[in-house]
Symmetry: C2
Subunit: 805 residues, 2 copies
């Protein structure tokens, strides 16, 4: 089957691994997965199950008492049928409930089955929290390793190293035990040579880390690259990507994430943590039959795991659940909401008891502001929102253009070189500037920070006037030289971050977007905040300030501006709404600042949406051609089912199977001559009255099995899908009854049904295909891929961009 | 049509007001609404629209260029068709978008249309916040009026009155301006006679308030009684109750809510505030065509309004949104989530700027705890969870039994007397006990409060040992006599609240359940908390305490126990989960206490669910027979569509209309001889091939209109539903073309479809009816009512308990 053939068919499945290779190569380097059989088949093992019938009622009716292995499983890169999966789970549940009345053992089994979901959530929370702690600690240590080493023990990072020594509070960062590389090698840290040596060591470590990361990803787990959120969205919407959430991906992603973050690249660990948590969820599903064998149930668990991932990334359990609900999940029943919340909480508290930041804080960026904001400040906040929206739209366009270039040109063939080059550029540009040299999350922390009395950082170098100080609140003051230097350095850092991030996101290393986006916004916000602060200090007699900003008062909190800017930029890139505000709210813990955050997030989303509708994750989904049916966008065109269904008017008629007149040979001919994944079964070709729908995979397996094990099944045997088969002359071979594999309740719509309703049905019920009828006669079929292609076509995009079934 | 007939039919609509009266009388005193035409028709005005066709594609095809008024509207007490409503909105949107390219004016219209949703949210937030502030202030004042009056101005409540005078901080409650009734009348407040006079005045005021409340409700707005949440849930799921969210209901509910709360009855204002906010939402929908004319869009707004309601009730915007999502709403797209959040925030900040509590706090019960909790404390927290679950289940059972008794016996005929008697008993029992005399929300505040140094309340009367005090944290101390007295009084208050609330909820006054439930839990929690505290104080050498509770340390915070208990009881009654924890989290503002709250809420829900699956709102929905299809419960029985559909095997065949052979007279005969709300249209009676579905109401209006306005339409005219009507002999009367009112895309399922899938389809797509086919032939019909009756039957409940269509 050629590439074109694959793309043409409406409801076909790739039946050999070579096909997979070819298609996958066009979108992501999936081919590597095939080099390594254990990886490739990992999830395949999970997804095969023993369920036989298509729906609850027909399972027990036939000879297939022991369902065949393989019947009802899915191929890789195929879409699952939510309705069928949920039906199967209900059957399972029903059986356990019925049995529970029989014996105490069965009752215990039923109870343990009911609580297995909660146990699983507990385990996911514990594992995700532990891994996040491990990643935090390692990344901290390795980031500091680029600058020096601790003599008291090389496993201490800079901060821990200096905790040991009893220096004063203000010089926390300077202690005799911590040696920069120049101090270690040259014996001193002064002078140009020492600087160059430190510079060199910084770049060398960065290159080593990133090289190791990209080699590990390339060699062992190609799925470990990127943030993983676009793929997880697609998987949660009901797509099979084997190995994407497997144990190798987990191990490699965890290791390479630490390396990538430590290398100083402009990326964060927050997005990949969601992937890591989902891997944990998927692997732990192994332990429970209920979740191992059911693709729909497994996806409920993965939604919860995604919530746990964000929860540990930011220390925001409620925000994590809302993120999973808003951004990642597809099918998210309320029961899952509650469980997700539990998993997110457990994960957050596990992380806190590991205490990687050494301060007992749950949240990543803990901030405490002392002053309320004034209504007029909404103007700069909205300006930040506009900036965030513009930056988000700009970033998405540029990044997608660059990624497309990588996919289509020779550039994509040298992933290792690409990583090395970008790392080298980043490291060389980053070292001279204090604000890019530090890790991005430290930078954000510092930008969010409200200057207290004891702060010794350059950003807080104001002209001091301690006479007017009351308590911990400092009044607005004139900026000192340190602040002006910091402003210049921050402006340069902003420019660097803006451009380098575009090239970084999408490389073959784990890379998250949250932190770089927030950094861009936080820098812009802090710059604006300081500007407004100085304006208010020097011109507090202006009409706009006079009402609320008396001289000597603390009117403007630049840290709040940084926070609002971070929210705006993150919103512009990801188009998160409620979850964004809630995550930010959990960082501050006070409802006071929700209004500025909301104003910025709203403006940012509106501005960004006006330029381009898609968030970064959706854009990457489209770039990779995943079959993801967006739940947020309304389909607004006036087409009807008849315009989308196959066969088209010029095509040959729909391939159907009759219910009781075809022989085994006839059916086999149909199966081999077509590549469709399923066939409608009709009463007769003449009437075209629909009886049911049978899947290609089930058909092949059942016929093969019957030929082997059932007596008298030969090529001329009649295949019968009805309850009572028509009487045959005694000489004829025995009949092959296949009612058990027939889906007696296929979804149908009429040809006049507006596509908006069809799209809605596909979305809400999670269908894989739907049959089209006219006045009771079968006319055609619409698959999820057809729907996606149609949506792409209506949006003036290339319909062939949808690659998978 | 008799009562039995109404209940029998599967898809019938009540066509006269008398029918409505009779059915409604059985469930709620709906009949009163009919006395007052403006109330009754209020929402009717909103719900009528001009849309003609059933789906977007067939609208423009026929003679009905100006759609008939009334075509496509719903009767009172009927279910809406979500698919159709959403289709109509998309058509509207499409038209505006298309037109926007034509002129600047149309472009402006399109932009204003896009932002009208946000404007509406702003208005709802402002209005709901203002009303909540008004209610708070009035209720405060009137509650204090029962005890005395302020001489400085009768419009001051006790607290404001004493703010004016310059007394010391500790005696805040005592000031010369505030006079108790005995002081005012007798000139002094001492002695038995003064006590009796105060007692008497307290009871008289309480009776006056409640009498006024019940008379207002009975006379002007019968829908204003109760909490309103069960009805709002039903309305949001797609049911029409005209006037339930109208302006009269709003006015009367606001007034009577203040009266009911002030009367000292065991009820809260939180639930009714949701109803008030929804009324605001519904009335403000008037202003925007987009929402006025579309039942589905209106319900999106109502979901947001419900969030705003909870947001102002507790000062918890995030919790409000989650409450709306989890508990109230049915169709809650993500776009609505974001807007709801906006509305909830605006409402919360409006309320804060009104500042009814006089302390600039956003939240109803602001608490700040200083000490962390210990893992071992989870044991008492889980005990509180068990108590909450048991109480919740007990309350639901008793309250439902009592409400059923009220409905079925003569008791229900004397609503005024009932309110008077319950108020009298409550007031007489409440006055002697300090903790029941104060308003319930004050009581909860006091119970949540952690005893500080300056607290002078009895609950904080510990044996003082100021030597070991550090800062604001007081160590565990021996309870003084005040605490022991308080314990006894609280125990008595607990018993009283437990029983009186059962009889109060469901009376003919606005009544919420949140506050009484929380009060019961808070009392139980405080009692347990003090007990544990004293245990730890006297026995800190016990093994369980020795590890973490050294003498002189502050180990136990009884206020936290009260809070956990409140959450547990509220959870047991309402079965809220995430929203409950988030609301409680917003009260404290720290993630620290989420784990205890979650443990208690989880235990409480499990315990309560083990006893009875339904929360109080669902139980009331079932009691009233509303057609509400629960989205949380899975349908788990093995029945199939053929078991549920009408006609049954013994019934006459399905009433159908043929597409081009029936005359006007034939159709009129069918319409008058049956009561079904709609009829399937088939190719011919013999083939039973389905063409579409036509609604009774549309059919009647169209024929009537055609007879009046179209020439040549007589009784023998052929009605034709096809695109091209068959040629007729020239002598025959002209043909009545009715394709425009035909729904060409009716939903169909096969007879073999498991009911679990059918229930899922009804739930997720919001269907009103679904046709059943077998091998392409029309077999029967399933309506929402059939589904609900079937579910009731499977749960061993009376299927005839479902009253409405």
């Amino acid at each position: 089957m050629d590439q074109k053939g694959f793309r043409r068919g409406s409801f076909q499945s790739a039946t050999s691994d070579e096909d997979m290779l070819e298609i996958a190569g066009a979108s992501m380097d999936f081919s590597m997965a095939d080099d390594d059989p254990p990886l490739d088949r990992e999830m395949g093992g999970f997804s095969s199950y023993n369920g036989g019938g298509m729906n609850g009622t027909s399972t027990m009716m036939d000879f297939l008492e022991e369902p065949l292995p393989g019947v009802g499983t899915y191929e890789d890169f195929n879409t699952i049928d939510w309705v069928r999966e949920k039906s199967r789970d209900r059957d399972r549940h029903r059986e356990i409930t019925n049995r529970s009345k029989e014996s105490t053992w069965a009752l215990l089994h039923s109870v343990s089955d009911a609580f297995s979901g909660w146990l699983l959530m507990l385990l996911i929370g514990l594992l995700a929290g532990s891994l996040a702690g491990l990643i935090d600690i390692s990344a901290h240590w390795m980031t500091d390793l680029k600058e020096g080493v601790c003599l008291a023990g090389f496993w201490f990072n800079h901060e821990h190293c200096c905790w040991k020594s009893n220096t004063t509070f203000t010089d926390r960062d300077k202690c005799p035990e911590w040696k920069s590389w120049s101090q270690l090698i040259l014996g001193h840290g002064e002078g140009a040579f020492a600087y160059i040596l430190n510079y060199l060591m910084y770049v060398i470590w960065a290159l080593m880390f990133s090289l190791l990361a990209v080699l590990l990803v390339k060699g062992f787990a190609p799925y470990a690259c990127g943030s993983g959120i676009p793929e997880i969205k697609t998987i949660l919407s009901g797509f099979i990507i084997r190995g994407y959430l497997g144990k190798w991906t987990l191990v490699i992603k965890t290791i390479t994430l630490v390396l990538a973050v430590s290398s100083g690249l402009s990326l964060g660990k927050e997005g990949p943590l969601v992937h890591v948590a989902c891997c944990c969820g998927n692997i732990l599903c192994h332990l429970f039959t209920k979740y191992r064998k059911n693709e729909a149930k497994r996806r409920e668990v993965l939604s919860a795991a995604a919530a746990a991932g964000v929860s540990v990334a930011f220390g925001a359990p409620i925000g994590g659940v809302l993120f999973s609900l808003e951004e990642v999940s597809y099918y998210f029943p309320l029961k899952t909401l509650w469980r997700s919340f539990f998993a997110a909480l457990v994960a957050a508290f596990t992380l806190r008891s590991i205490n990687p930041f050494g301060n007992s804080r749950l949240v990543l960026f803990y901030v405490e502001f002392h002053m309320p904001w004034h209504l007029l400040e909404l103007v700069p906040f909205i300006l930040l929102g506009i900036f965030g929206g513009l930056w988000g739209a700009f970033f998405i366009r540029s990044n997608i253009a660059w990624c497309r270039r990588r996919k289509t040109t020779r550039l994509g063939k040298y992933p290792v070189l690409e990583v090395i080059v970008v790392t080298a550029i980043t490291a060389i540009l980053a070292f001279p500037n204090e604000y890019t040299r530090m890790s991005t999350s430290e930078l954000i922390s510092e930008l969010f920070n409200d200057c207290g009395i004891l702060d010794s950082s350059k950003l807080c170098e104001y002209v001091n006037d301690f006479n007017s100080t009351k308590g911990d609140d400092l009044p607005d003051r004139a900026a000192g030289p340190g602040v002006y230097t910091a402003m210049w350095q921050l402006a340069l850092a902003l420019i660097m971050k803006v451009f380098i991030t575009i090239f970084t996101f999408g490389m073959k290393v784990p890379s998250g977007l949250f932190i770089p986006s927030m950094a861009v916004g936080a820098i812009a916000g802090r710059l604006l905040g300081v500007a407004v602060e100085q304006l208010a200090f020097y011109h507090h007699d202006w009409a706009i300030f006079s009402g609320w900003c008396s001289p000597g008062a603390d009117c403007i909190t630049p840290g709040l501006y940084a926070m609002v800017g971070a929210a705006a930029c993150l919103g512009g890139v990801t188009r998160m709404t409620v979850s964004l505000v809630v995550i930010m709210f959990e960082l501050t813990g006070g409802l006071e600042y929700i209004v500025p955050l909301m104003a910025a997030a709203m403006t940012s989303k509106w501005v960004a949406d006006a330029i381009g509708r898609e968030g970064i994750y959706d854009a990457h989904i489209r770039l990779n051609g995943y079959p993801f049916l967006e739940a947020k966008e309304e389909f607004s065109h006036k087409t009807r089912a008849m315009d989308v269904m196959r066969p088209r008017k010029s095509d040959p008629p729909l391939t159907v199977i009759t219910q009781d007149t075809m022989t085994v040979e006839d059916v086999e001919t149909i199966v081999t001559s077509t590549t469709y994944s399923g066939y409608p079964v009709v009463v007769s070709r003449a009437s075209q009255r629909l009886v049911g729908f049978v899947l290609r995979r089930d058909l092949i397996i059942s016929i093969e099995n019957a030929r082997k094990k059932q007596d008298g099944i030969v090529s001329t045997s009649i295949i019968c899908f009805t309850d009572y088969c028509p009487p045959l002359p005694p000489s004829s071979p025995s009949v092959l009854k296949l009612r058990s594999i027939l889906d007696l309740s296929p979804f149908t719509v009429t040809d006049e049904t507006p596509m908006e309703i069809v799209v809605d049905i596909f979305r809400k019920l999670g269908l894989r295909q739907c049959l089209v009828t006219h006045n009771g006669k079968l006319l055609g079929i619409i698959t999820k891929k057809d729907v996606l292609k149609h949506i792409a076509q209506m949006a003036n995009q290339d319909p062939d961009s949808i690659l998978f079934n």
